[in-house]
């Protein structure tokens, strides 16, 4: 819950909106329940409960929420944009291998280098079982499925080191199936691409 990239930040905002909304709805239902409990026995209007509260209320809330979710989702998609850096991530039991379109032939094991402040598209796949690529502080996760290549957009606000994990259970080595993302400043990224830093 310490977002360090635009995708994670948008999702964190989404979470706070969801939490506040859910809390309000829960309190409302609990209050209504307490009121219904204490109310003396007597006839009640079925339509108010079933149509008003049961149909109209959730439909309104959900429509608004869906629209919000859809807009957020669209914003997080890997759309074509200038400055986009493309990298590849190939998972196996229990390691990650990363490749770089800007430096063909360059490969790193367990550490993904990216430039800070630029959108990065990670093309994710696997050579054995299903894995999932997740850097919690940068963005959501996307699965590595055998035979398919899925593309995830990530971005880090600032240079630094960010922990990444595989987030789909993959057998005995699952816990330790980690990697690290190193976000470089512009200078450091050029240095990496030309092979000056490991």
């Amino acid at each position: 819950m310490h977002p360090a990239g635009p995708a994670a930040a948008v999702i964190a905002t989404l979470w706070w909106v969801l939490l506040i909304g859910a809390t309000l709805i829960f309190l409302f239902v609990a209050g209504l329940f307490a009121w219904a409990w204490r109310r003396p026995a007597g006839p009640a209007d079925v339509r108010r409960y079933v149509i008003g509260l049961g149909l109209a209320f959730p439909l309104t809330v959900l429509a608004a929420l869906l629209a919000y979710g859809l807009v957020v989702g669209e914003r997080l998609l890997p759309r074509a944009a200038p400055e986009v850096v493309s990298v590849t991530a190939e998972a196996r039991q229990w390691a990650w291998r990363f490749g770089y379109d800007d430096a063909p032939g360059r490969e790193t094991q367990g550490i993904l280098h990216i430039p800070a402040g630029r959108p990065v598209d990670v093309a994710i796949t696997t050579v054995d079982v299903v894995h999932s690529f997740w850097v919690p502080r940068l963005a959501g996760k996307l699965d590595a499925v055998p035979g398919h290549v899925n593309t995830l957009r990530i971005e880090a606000f600032a240079p630094g080191r960010y922990a990444g994990v595989s987030a789909e259970f993959s057998g005995p080595g699952y816990r330790a199936h980690r990697f690290e993302v190193i976000a470089h400043d512009a200078q450091g990224w050029q240095a990496f691409l030309t092979g000056e830093t490991p």
Binding site: M1, V10, I11, L14, W15, L18, A22, F26, V29, A30, L32, F33, W35, A36, R39, A41, G42, A44, V46, R48, Y49, V50, L53, G54, L55, P58, L59, L62, L65, L66, Y68, G69, L70, V72, G73, E74, L76, Q93, D128, V129, V130, P136, G140, K141, L142, V145, P146, G147, H148, N150, T151, V165, A167, E168, F169, S170, G171, P172, Y174, R175
Partner: protein, 814 residues
């Protein structure tokens, strides 16, 4: 005949065998319902112990208590046991016990099938427990994603226990679902229209139809994965034209309806108990039925929300996201109708009501977090974290376990005939309730902090230590609470004082009998004209005991009940039930050998036990036959009816209809899988398609024509048609000789195998009908069996045409 002598006469006819032998020969729904519930409770305890091991392991960081080999088996088996061996069978047990009593009849539609299903469940469950004790239990997670669960990720026998054991257990779910459907539709008390059924019966009907349409994709997936593991048929191997995502689709096509299959019976119990606790009637009966039906329908349209992170295009996800949030609407209709019910009445805080309060508090939170994870970007973040673990426990424990405990305490006086006496239940309630929220509330937060599910231990310094310690301590508090519930139930059943007949003042028929109930339920069957017969006629129990309803005269000395018309609820047939028998347990044991042969790869055992199962089935079916019609027999209240053996639509015909619904869904899922691989899997098209020549096509056309010629043309024509289609199927296999070459070839084998199996069943059915006529059975008493056989033949001929098209067209068109 006075009430006591009627009771003795009926007991003599309906009672199970005395002593321990009775457990194995009983076909009575009251016995089997209790046995189902007790067995499911046993598995709940086993699953609970596994949960305690998980919490012990995760109590502190870097725990050395369990290694990943054991931990992976433990969490996999915890999920598997709770879902397949506890939740579904517990519902089945409750429905088996309650439905005939709620509906005012004497037993379920197919008593021997109840027993067969129960024993399949016991033997299948025993296989799973054996695997657990032997340390070779499944360890790929309860949703068993290949390739991790296939030969690549798990070369050992572990996943085979899951695939074969769970499929074996699912026989009981399918049999119970067929029975529940037919019982609700045809075995209600005379006069009880669908709109007058107890609300629980509606929920049970919806749930049963969902089982019939939800479980077949899982059974198909398990068979395909086992075929891949055992014979290298590459359905899920991408290199040979398979796709790992196919499993995820098939699994969640089952897995999401499963959640509602678990929730709806609980909602049925709530809708039954809540109005009684509030001393009022249920608000919006029609709305609630509509909500349950729409939940069932919607639940089949949102399986993809378990797959938001698999790389499906965003607009596709948006559709499933909308469908997923939409299920909140019928759920809200029910919740607010229940609150409205409370508003119209004056609630009492008895123990069942206390558990319903726990349900409301917990389930509303679970529902709200459910809406959260239905929002795609949020799910991208929390998918496969402890947020999901917490959410699903709020939904499943809040939405199933708590209402079931309400149901347990509500119907306990009915099970035991005793009054709840001790205060232990209240203490247990508070331990479970506080323990539950202490365990899972904070785990939401751990998930947001990035704690993945299924990790076998964690590193300190990530802010997870305190949350996990609180969760573990609370988990043990909850376990103590559940143990107290168990003690409370046992103590109450054994020593509490005798209670009154209807302790809660309810209006439904299950309270119109002495408790604990007699083997025959009702000494005579009531004529019903409203939803709460006991409120209209408080004297009903005495009237029924005096034999003033239907079938109050036991003179025919056999187990009889009435079948009604589905819509009008007019009595139509006398159903004669079979007596106590060992046949179901034998058949279940031999079915078990069949599965064991597959599991241990001792393939010689498979055909032998198949023959054994067929023999049992033939004995089973043969004993239903009646040589001579009996004509109309008096059933009381001035009415005379013929028996079901002389009817054109006997219960077996209805059972076949609903079994074919499940079968058709299975077939549909298979075609879906074929189309999915074709369009999505990377390595398509296959190197070569089967290219059937004109002779083969002619054979198919001729066979289908004869098989569809139907009843007018006679059995032999249909049988010859079936044989020709079968021959065509075998010939088609020679066109794709190696099923392990490509997923296409493997699919052809499964499609053709499906057809061949059905033709074999049809031929057996035709043979049974022919043998009956030969043995001198009258036309009137074989008519029903004939129609069952035709139903299957027609289905098989039509599916054979579809199979022929699916196998032959690609080759013909390219």
């Amino acid at each position: 005949m006075n009430a006591l002598r009627r009771h003795r006469a009926l007991t003599r006819i309906w009672a199970s065998d005395p002593g321990w032998k009775g457990w194995f020969t009983t076909v009575n729904h009251t016995d089997l319902g209790r046995m189902f519930l007790a067995t499911a409770a046993f598995f709940f305890v086993v699953g609970g112990i596994l949960a305690m091991l998980i919490r012990a392991q995760l109590a502190t960081p870097r725990s050395a208590f369990l290694g990943p080999e054991h931990y992976n088996q433990i969490f996999t088996m915890h999920g598997t046991i709770m879902m397949f061996l506890f939740a579904i069978p517990f519902f089945e047990g409750l429905a088996v016990y309650l439905l005939p009593k709620l509906l005012g009849t004497r037993d379920l539609a197919f008593p021997r099938l109840t027993a067969y299903g129960f024993w399949c469940y016991v033997f299948g469950g025993a296989m799973m427990i054996f695997a657990l004790l032997a340390g070779i239990a499944p360890d790929s997670g309860w949703f068993m994603y290949p390739p991790l669960s296939s030969t690549l990720g798990a070369p050992g026998i572990n996943p085979d226990f899951w695939l074969i054991g769970i499929t074996f257990v699912e026989i009981s779910a399918i049999s119970a679902a067929v029975e529940i459907t037919v019982t609700v539709l045809r075995y209600r008390a005379p006069g009880m229209r669908l709109s007058q059924m107890p609300i629980f019966a509606w929920y049970a009907l919806v749930t049963a139809v969902m089982i019939l349409t939800g479980f077949p994709p899982l059974i198909l997936g398990s068979i395909l994965l086992e075929l891949e593991r055992a014979f290298g048929m590459p359905f899920f191997q991408v290199a040979a034209g398979g796709d790992a995502l196919l499993w995820q689709h098939l699994f969640w096509l089952f897995g999401h309806p499963e959640v509602y299959i678990i929730f709806l019976p609980a909602a049925g119990a709530i809708s039954t108990i809540l109005p009684v606790m509030a001393r009022t009637r249920l608000m919006g009966y029609g709305w609630i039925v509509a909500a349950a039906v729409s939940l069932a329908v919607l639940s089949f349209g949102l399986w993809v929300h378990h797959m938001f992170t698999t790389g499906i295009p965003h607009m596709g996800l948006a559709f499933f996201s909308a469908a997923s949030t939409l299920v909140a609407v019928p759920t809200a209709v029910q919740i607010f109708a229940w609150i409205g019910t409370l508003a119209t009445g004056s609630p009492r805080l008895h123990l069942p009501m206390l558990w319903l309060l726990a349900f409301f508090a917990t389930f509303v939170i679970g529902g709200l977090t459910g809406v959260m994870v239905a929002i795609v970007p949020f799910d991208w973040q929390v998918h496969d974290t402890y947020f999901i673990v917490a959410h699903l426990h709020y939904v499943l424990v809040g939405g199933f376990v708590f209402p079931m405990l309400a149901a347990l305490y509500y119907w306990m006086p009915h099970f035991t005939g005793r009054r709840t006496y001790f205060k232990l239940g209240t203490t247990a309630f508070w331990l479970v309730f506080t323990g539950f929220h202490g365990t899972f509330l904070l785990l939401h937060w751990a998930g947001l902090l990035g704690m993945r599910r299924r990790i076998d231990s964690f590193e300190p310094g990530q802010g997870w230590e305190l949350i996990n310690l609180i969760a573990s301590v609370s988990g043990f508090v909850m376990a103590i609470g559940f143990a107290l519930v168990l003690v409370d139930v046992v103590v109450n059943a054994m020593v509490a004082i005798r209670g009154s007949r209807d302790p809660w003042g309810a209006g439904t028929l299950e309270w119109a009998m002495p408790t604990p109930s007699a083997a025959y339920n009702f000494a005579s069957l009531p004529q019903v004209s409203s939803r709460d017969p006991l409120y209209d006629t408080p004297d009903l129990p005495a009237q029924l005991a005096r034999g003033e309803g239907y079938l109050g005269d036991p003179a025919r000395n056999r187990r009889e009940t009435l079948a009604i018309d589905v819509a009008s609820a007019e009595p139509r047939q006398i159903v004669v039930f079979p007596g106590n028998t060992l046949l179901p347990i034998w058949m279940a044991a031999i079915t078990g050998l069949f599965f064991l042969g597959m599991l241990l790869k001792t393939y010689w055992l498979v055909p032998i036990s198949a023959v054994g199962v067929i023999t049992c089935a033939l004995i089973w079916v043969w004993s239903l036959g009646r040589r001579r019609p009996e004509g109309r027999l008096p059933v009381g209240r001035g009415l005379s009816l013929a028996t079901a053996a002389e009817a054109a639509d006997p219960p077996g015909w209805w059972g076949s209809l609903f079994l074919l619904l499940a079968d058709g869904t299975f077939f549909g899922a298979l075609l879906f899988g074929y189309a999915f691989l074709w369009t999505v899997a990377p390595n398509w098209p296959p190197p070569a398609y089967a290219e059937p020549g004109p002779a083969l096509l002619l054979l198919v056309a001729l066979g289908a024509g004869l098989a569809l010629a139907g009843p007018r043309a006679g059995h032999w024509v249909v049988a010859v048609g079936s044989l020709l289609l079968g021959a065509a199927g075998i010939a088609a296999l020679f066109l794709v000789p190696d099923p392990s070459a490509h997923a296409y070839d493997a699919t052809v084998w499964v499609l053709v195998g499906y057809g061949l199996l059905h033709h074999a069943v049809c031929l057996l059915m035709i043979a049974v009908v022919a043998a009956r006529r030969r043995a001198g059975h009258s036309a009137a008493t074989t008519r029903g069996a004939e129609r069952v056989s035709h139903l299957w033949s027609r289905y098989t001929a039509l599916t054979s045409l579809v199979i022929a098209a699916a196998v032959g067209l690609p080759g013909a068109l390219t």
